[in-house]
Amino acid sequence: MKASEVMDPNPTTLKPTDTIECAAQYIMEKRYRNVPVVDDNFCYLGMFGVNCLLKQVIPKSVLMHKGLDNVSFIHESLEDLYQRFDEVKHQPISMCMNQELPPVSPNTPLTETLLQLYETRSSIAVVEKDTCKLLGMISYWDVGEKILNAGEHPNA
């Protein structure tokens, strides 16, 4: 079995020009962990998700490479966190989307796809290698559901 057989071929997408505020409201409302970001030609650019949001409200000095490894002395309120979000909410999501989550090709074997799902702990984009076109998304739920169905209907 291959990645293309377990993916959702009609995923929800965001545009790189969408504001962080709009994208945040959207993923909160729908309870999405990650949503793929595509350009006008449906070319895959990256992912925007809850981690991108958390990144905006945690001090930069904590998240940066070799940054603070202990933040137990910082006691902030929700208002403090919102203030940090407020400073960036009108910026496009392209400035903070995750471009390091590797997509898989439609021909990637299922086990390799599952391993990536396990290692990245994020939904995976299925992307056509030559055109960078987004073909679909694979989430834990899609895969989990298919595995369970296979047990219930072995010949399906």
């Binding site: 001090p59 930069k60 000095s61 904590v62 940066m64 490479h65 070799k66 940054g67 603070l68 202990n70 137990s72 002395f73 910082i74 006691h75 403090d80």
Partner: protein, 445 residues
Amino acid sequence: MHSAAQADVIFGLSPVWFAGGLFVLTYVLIVTERLNRAIIAMMAAVLMIVSGVLTQQSAMQGVDINTIGLLTGMMIIVGITRESGVFQYLAIRSAKVVKADPWGILVMLVFVTAFLSALLDNVTTVLLIAPITLLITDTLKLSAYPYLFAEIFASNIGGTATLIGDPPNIMIGSATGLTYNDFLFNLAPIAVFILLITLIPLYLIWGRHLKAEPELINKVMLYREIDAIKDWVLLKKSLFVLTLVMLGFILGHDYGLQPATIAMFGAALLLLLHCLPQKQEKQTEMVARALGEVEWITIFFFIGLFIIVYGVESTGLLEILAHQVIELTGGDKTVTAISIMFVSAVASSIVDNIPFVATMIPLIKNMAPTFGGAEELIPIWWSLALGSCLGGNGSLVGASANLIVAGFAERSGQPIRFLPFMLMAFPLMLLSVFISSLYVYFKYF
């Protein structure tokens, strides 16, 4: 100096030319930074042996175990100690002592950085202080640039003050037998003075303009520094061992104990205290983590460099160069000392001060007969230490700590650019070296 085991001709060249050429090539490659410096140094060291300039046995004689042991031991101690959170506590506490006043914070962070740099290595110090600085300036909505600039200066000035503060001092101390107390009594006073003087231009340029909103100041005051201490038991063990090590540095010389022995004893003792209550598997994991804190790139760079310089020295090239330097300065010790200080400072602001000092040490040693013995070289050693340590402030590439701070600045979106930094830093560095030259002149001549 040409040893009996040394080949007469190497690849058609005399050993002097071959070793000299290899040495220059090594320097060029280090400066260009296209290859990791440890790879360059190790490769050149092996070539010194393969080509027959040195035998493997003689190459090992060139490796200064005292420097290597001291660096490694201190890196292990600091690596374990930092897990306690004590350094973050110090930085936050210092900011709160001045009621989070922006200029007061800068002054306090400068003192903390200088103090820690004198006791630990500069790179570790800025790795600990820079993230806290960025957090505080971010909270106060201030530019981090003045703070990071000041911390670069503080780390290099603080490192000048003690034998263990900066690698050049470690090398000089090890090569000359000058003790921890010698460095403390001769270099610490001038380092403190230079630090205070440096604060004046920093105040005039930036300090008087630093202002923050009261509610933001209040946010910094709400930091609970006591919560930064993650492990009280480890903190007590670490402070106990650090105190023992410092006492060892101060008193150990009278009992024939070298700094490397003291640092390695401290590292072993702290590892023992840290790991003792744990099961064997956990101990292995903890020891591996502690040893992982050692900057092996720096250690292997040193090993390679010592072999290269020893190879060049064994051909007699450094003796020839020493005579030429003496000719240039007219055989005057004062002129030689002051010239070495300024040349070291300018060179150290352009190239890594570690290879520079590694080369200068045997070169200066060769001057002993001209100036009347090893004792007479002491002012020159202080000049080399002051020039090479303070010279690190001259540019962004002058010291590893500078580049670490620049990396933090870049990641925080407030980059420190090479040229603007140098335009400000180089004159300030020259001022500090000028003050040092007056100090050396009036104190030792």
